[in-house]
């Protein structure tokens, strides 16, 4: 696998531009090319299922996973972060199903708990500054192993979508309707929550947890304004994510800005353009928050 990635890196290195000759940029490009379609695909469903606050909670909750990993003395706290995120995702899903509390209140509580725990533990060890990179992302942290992991994640998610995408999307339209057609709604929702947890957490070291949700949501939100049917929705989201990702990466090199933030600014730019181009669509969306009725 490493030799494959080396080979791909060398391919990138053959490009005529200055940025392509740096190893970290070569790796970053590969990472973006893999992460963008993955995030776009997952993001379209997060937006469709109105789970944006859920993914935001998971992103912030990584702070606790990180702190616990550090406290446990792990050199690479990423695994602790992923395990924590998956546990949180399952707990939140479980509590939301059984509780009378509003869904966003439950999420608010979980986010508060994780962030507070994370800050308390990290500050106590006097290591808050070190982990600034996890807040705002560090493109230098992208390793060959990270790229391999991203490739695996992309393959797994695409494979899963061949079985579950339609069931998940139908659940998002109406859970009872999906259930009446034999979809195991609880399992599908829990499974998707776990996927979001893993995918979001994997990319936090590169993009930072402050912005990870934006990276997930924005291309899908933009595509939603422009697309006519579901195929266009997913296709546009992937296209927009790739352009924002690559454009943001390269421009961050020349502008000397943080890569994750630059990518998100590109994505915001596209959203704004879509808003100007199709204001009618957005107005309709704002006026009818949840009703298909007559």
């Amino acid at each position: 696998m490493n030799s494959l990635i080396d080979m791909l890196q060398q391919l990138v290195g053959m490009l005529p531009w200055e940025w392509a000759h740096y190893e970290f940029m070569q790796r970053a490009l590969l990472a973006v090319l893999l992460a963008a379609p993955l995030f776009a695909l997952v993001g379209t469903q997060v937006v469709w299922l109105r789970m944006a606050f859920f993914s935001d909670t998971l992103g912030h909750a990584a702070l606790a996973g990180l702190a616990l990993g550090v406290v446990a003395g792990l050199g690479k706290p990423l695994w602790a972060m992923i395990i924590w995120a998956v546990a949180m995702a399952l707990m939140v899903t479980w509590v939301q199903r059984r509780s009378q509390e509003a869904a966003d209140t439950v999420l608010g509580v979980f986010m508060a708990f994780s962030v507070a725990l994370g800050i308390a533990l990290l500050a106590r060890n006097g290591r808050m500054k070190e982990f600034l990179n996890y807040l705002i992302g560090d493109v230098l942290s992208i390793s060959a192993g990270g790229i391999a992991g991203m490739l695996l994640a992309l393959i797994v998610v695409v494979a899963l979508s061949f079985r579950w995408f339609n069931a998940l999307a139908l659940t998002g339209l109406n859970a009872s309707l999906a259930g009446s057609r034999g979809v195991r709604v609880g399992a599908v929702q829990a499974g998707f929550a776990v996927i979001v947890a893993v995918v979001v957490t994997m990319v936090i070291p590169w993009v930072g947890l402050l912005l990870i949700n934006a990276f997930l949501i924005l291309p899908a939100a933009t595509a939603r304004l422009l697309a006519r049917d579901t195929r266009q929705y997913v296709g546009l989201a992937i296209g927009l994510a790739l352009v924002s990702g690559v454009g943001g990466l390269i421009s961050s090199y020349y502008w000397g800005t943080a890569t994750g933030a630059t990518i998100v600014l590109w994505a915001v730019g596209f959203y704004s353009l879509a808003l100007i181009y199709k204001p009618g669509r957005a107005a309709v969306a704002a006026a009818t928050p949840g009703d298909s009725g007559g």
């Binding site: 469709w48 979508s161 061949f162 079985r163 579950w164 995408f165 339609n166 069931a167 999307a169 139908l170 998002g172 339209l173 109406n174 009872s176 309707l177 259930g179 009446s180 057609r181 595509a223 939603r224 304004l225 697309a227 006519r228 049917d229 579901t230 195929r231 266009q232 929705y233 997913v234 296709g235 669509r281 957005a282 309709v284 969306a285 006026a287 009818t288 928050p289 949840g290 009703d291 298909s292 009725g293 007559g294």
Partner: protein, 258 residues
């Protein structure tokens, strides 16, 4: 079958009557949430080819009954289904469900063709709908005179059009029992007329039993062959005329004091 299985044990049984038309039996259905009894002792038949309206005041348990039939809430007793032709074979009941509304914003990028695709098979809709699925969708829409709606976005549909699409969707694949939740709600005059057309077409199908759950007795009385008046238990059942002249029903409707 458990040792407790006797006449008081609730069950949902779907089997073929001798003439070949199928029927779903509900016997002694009960639902309780903690200490609160939402439904008790509910028994009725749903005959294929017939339109049955399940009505009652607010809090009567109509939604609970619907959820019990859909298997969403636990209800007391066992549940077994017999289906198919004159042989009385045991199969799983296939339920078609037409919800009152789908929750999505009107700008959502999903067409009627997309909706059908989501329910027909595993290949993700974004990989392409394909000719076969498109043909099935068209065939389904044809039953409700809605072929022209295939490529329309769901958010562009009127209330009546949405209902027809959902009815068509629920008929593919063919169910034994079609449940419509508050179908008369929020329809304008044209929508209501179309709804009557759809119901008339469903009545002619001897392979599916249709149940309409509604709080609007008047609206569904016109289309139903049979009415079940529910108020935590079954208060009355029979033809619309018979039920509307039942004193217990009239009392609950506020037509007689007491």
């Amino acid at each position: 079958m458990s040792a407790r299985d006797d006449m008081s044990t609730p069950s949902i049984v779907h089997h073929a009557a001798p003439c070949g038309a199928c029927v779903t039996h509900v016997r002694n259905l009960g639902v309780r949430f903690g200490r609160h009894v939402a439904l008790e002792g509910v028994s009725f038949d749903l005959h294929c080819g017939e339109i049955t309206a399940i009505v009652g005041p607010n809090g009567a348990g109509k939604t609970t009954l619907l959820r019990a039939l859909l298997g969403e809430v636990p209800y007391t007793g066992e549940r077994h289904f017999h289906g198919g032709g004159g042989s009385g074979r045991t199969t799983d009941i296939v339920i078609g469900y037409v919800p009152q509304r789908l929750v999505f914003d009107r700008a959502a990028p999903v067409t009627v063709a997309d909706l059908f695709t989501l329910g027909l098979g595993r290949r993700p809709v974004f990989f392409g709908i394909g000719d076969e699925r498109r043909a099935k969708a068209m065939a389904g829409l044809k039953e409700v005179d809605a072929e022209h709606l295939l490529e329309r976005r769901l958010g562009e549909l009127s209330g009546g059009e949405m209902q027809r699409v959902l009815v068509a969707f629920s008929l593919v694949p063919q169910p034994n029992l079609l449940l419509l939740d508050e179908p008369a709600q929020g329809l304008d005059a044209i929508g209501m007329a179309k709804f009557h057309d759809v119901v008339a077409q469903l009545r002619g199908r001897f392979d599916v039993a249709v149940a309409l759950v509604s709080h609007d007795l008047e609206a569904v009385a016109r289309v139903a062959d049979k009415i079940l008046f529910l108020d935590r238990t079954l208060v009355a059942s029979g033809t619309p005329d018979a039920v509307l002249s039942n004193p217990a029903v009239r009392q609950r409707l506020g037509m007689i004091p007491g």
